[in-house]
């Protein structure tokens, strides 16, 4: 239950829970992303609902992120006409959250992240490539052995020792599966739809640009570009990236699982 102070209640009573909050009344929340605190203010009363349970209300009146109204408006055309304002604001926060986390060597990444055999596996690719379908086939095949970390924008963290960890985030996709677990990265799969199933290990050069396009934000400064490149370079240096051409069937899920298992069987992990 969200704590309502007298000012918030006045705004809600006056404007209704789905309407824009009074211009001088905002709702303050905080979330921890790989132990990095990010403080939010929301313009719309229901935005917090989309981000629960990854955030909590706070009395701290300072904030790190408040999406500019004009930016939210600029994103609206990308959604159906009847899409609620709070949802548009919630999605608008992806880029700002990523930028706020870059100095901490973290960034959101467009992928389905699943946990299997103690490691996180990132299934990435353009919309329609079959990421969620692949996860569903995995889940049906492996059931309890497979756990969803995040269904849309997992948080990628580069640790000081050069290892990469994958965490859940509030942006967990249409299925809204709220992952609770984090895991060290095992590898990345770039998916493509195809008439047959095949998988190949990519070189760093082959995977560099396709992966770079999957980070959740386009950096705004030169420093941010360098930080993002650093995270990706560390990922490429240490972890395998495969390309999976797939039909979206159980055979493709088995092909991927067998590939991961062979990799785990032959590699040493620090």
């Amino acid at each position: 239950m969200i704590k309502i102070n007298s000012t918030t209640k006045v705004a809600w009573d006056r404007y209704g829970s789905r309407n824009l909050l009074h211009e001088n009344v905002f709702m303050n929340f905080e979330g921890y992303f790989a132990e990095n605190r990010i403080r939010y203010q929301f313009r719309y009363a229901d935005t917090y609902k989309y981000m629960m349970p990854y955030i909590a209300q706070t009395d701290d009146e300072e904030y790190d992120i408040l999406a500019p109204q004009e930016y939210i408006e600029s994103q609206r055309p990308f959604y159906p006409e009847n899409q609620d304002d709070a949802y548009v604001e919630y999605k608008s926060l992806i880029g700002q959250t990523s930028l706020a986390l870059l100095p901490h060597k973290c960034c959101l990444f467009h992928a389905v992240a699943l946990k299997w055999n103690g490691y996180a596996w990132l299934l990435t690719g353009s919309s329609g490539a079959g990421k969620t379908t692949q996860y569903k086939k995995w889940k049906i095949s492996n059931r309890d052995d497979v756990e969803m970390i995040c269904g849309d924008m997992p948080l990628i963290e580069l640790k000081d020792d050069g290892s990469i960890w994958v965490h859940p985030s509030p942006w967990n996709g249409k299925e809204r599966i709220k992952g609770k677990t984090s895991a060290p990265l095992g590898g990345v799969v770039l998916l493509e739809k195809d008439d047959s199933n095949s998988i190949e290990l990519l070189t760093n050069e082959e995977s560099a640009l396709p992966l770079f396009l999957q980070w959740a934000v386009r950096p705004e400064t030169e420093e941010q570009i360098i930080r993002l490149a650093e995270i990706e370079n560390r990922l490429l240096d240490r972890y395998p990236v495969w390309k999976l051409k797939n039909r979206g069937d159980f055979e493709s899920a088995k092909l991927t699982a067998d590939t991961f298992q062979r990799y785990l069987d032959t590699e040493h992990f620090a």
Partner: protein, 97 residues
């Protein structure tokens, strides 16, 4: 005419590939990320250190790389500068004012 690199574009290496990455504010003008070769990267570095004319850039390239055919290099560097300018990666000095 001297040319300078556009502010907000970074030369970096990703996965061993030399790339130019543009800040978000430039995305209506230039591609977000584009891979380039060693010669282009060299030219970019030199242009980013201060304004250079095409001739000055050609001289630097000739001094840096082993070339068999100087005329081909002159043509290629001239075309490269033209392409970078037309695509918005570099700007003419007079446009900086």
């Amino acid at each position: 005419m001297k040319y300078h690199t556009q502010k907000g574009i970074v030369l970096t290496s990703i996965g061993g590939q030399l790339v130019l990455v543009a800040a978000a504010s430039l995305h209506d003008r230039v591609s977000y990320v584009v891979s380039i070769n060693e010669t282009t990267a060299f030219c970019w570095e030199k242009l980013s250190q201060g304004g250079l004319t095409v001739e000055e850039l050609i001289d630097l390239v000739l001094g840096e790389f082993d070339v068999n055919d100087e005329e081909t290099v002159r043509t290629e560097i001239s075309e490269l500068v033209q392409q970078l300018y037309e695509k918005g990666y570099i700007v003419a000095e007079k446009e900086l004012a």
